[in-house]
Symmetry: C2
C-alpha cells in the first residue's frame, strides 16, 4: 500500500521532469512523448509513419501533422516519403534528437541502474515481478 503510493509518486515526478524538459527545449509534453515513441521504434527496428505515431499518441491526423511539423521545425525529425508506398511518410529522428533524449533519460537511467547493480538475483527478480504486475494492472486488455 505504501509501496503503491511510492510508485505513484515516481510516475508523477517523472511526468513533471518530462514537462520541465519539454519547456526547457521549446516543446510540449506531447512532443517529448512523440520523440520517445520514435526512439523506441528506431531501437525496435519498426518503421515509424505519421499515422503510426498519431495512434501511439492518441491524436487525430490533424493533431499528428502539427506534432510532426513542430518537431521538424525544431530539427528533431525528418520526413521521408516511403519509396515502396508513396502515400506513407516515414519519420526519422535526427542525431540531435537522439542526443537530447540521452541528455534527459541518461542520468535518470544511470542512477537507477546503479542501484540495481547492488541487488542480488532474488531481489532484482522481485522488482521485475512487481513491475510486471503493476504494468499488467495498469494496462488495458493485456
Amino acid at each position: 500500500m505504501e509501496i503503491v503510493h511510492l510508485l505513484r509518486k515516481v510516475t508523477v515526478e517523472f511526468g513533471l521532469r518530462q514537462a520541465e524538459f519539454a519547456a526547457r527545449h521549446g516543446m510540449h509534453s506531447t512532443d517529448v512523448r512523440a520523440l520517445i515513441c520514435l526512439l523506441d521504434a528506431e531501437r525496435a527496428g519498426t518503421d515509424a509513419t505519421a499515422g503510426w505515431l498519431g495512434a501511439q499518441l492518441g491524436l487525430n491526423s490533424a493533431g499528428t501533422t502539427s506534432v510532426i511539423d513542430r518537431l521538424e521545425r525544431l530539427g528533431h525529425l525528418e520526413r521521408t516519403r516511403d519509396p515502396r508506398d508513396r502515400r506513407r511518410v516515414l519519420l526519422s529522428v535526427t542525431p540531435r534528437a537522439v542526443e537530447l533524449g540521452r541528455s534527459f533519460f541518461g542520468p535518470l537511467i544511470d542512477d537507477t541502474v546503479a542501484v540495481l547493480r547492488e541487488f542480488d538475483e532474488s531481489e532484482t527478480a522481485a522488482v521485475r515481478r512487481f513491475l510486471s504486475a503493476a504494468h499488467q494492472a495498469v494496462t488495458i486488455v493485456p
Copy 2:
C-alpha cells in the same frame, strides 16, 4: 536496464489510463491530477487553497481558477472562504469525487497490492528500495 524500461512503461500506461478516465468523465488530465492532489491533501490533513493547488499543478492563477471552476461545475469540488483569512479559498472534494477516485484507483491498487501480499520480507524491501531510488533519481533536489 530492462527493469528501467519496464518502469517507464508503467508510467506511460498509467498516464494513458488517467487521460482515458478523464475523458470518460468529461474532464481533462489536469483536472484528474487536481483531484489527486486534493485527495492527497485531505488524507494528509493539510488544507488545500486555490493557490496551493495551482502550485502543485504548475499553473498560474488564471489557469488555476479555470480548473477549480470546471471541477466545481462538475460537482467534484466546493469552494469555501477561509473564515480565518477571508482572502483564501479552501477547496474540499465532494463525496462524489472521492467515489470517482476510488473507482479509478481502487482496482489498480488492489491488483498491485495483491501481488505484494505474496512477497516475503526481503522481496518487499527490495521493491521499496528500488522505488525509493527511482523516486530519488527522478525528483529534483529532494
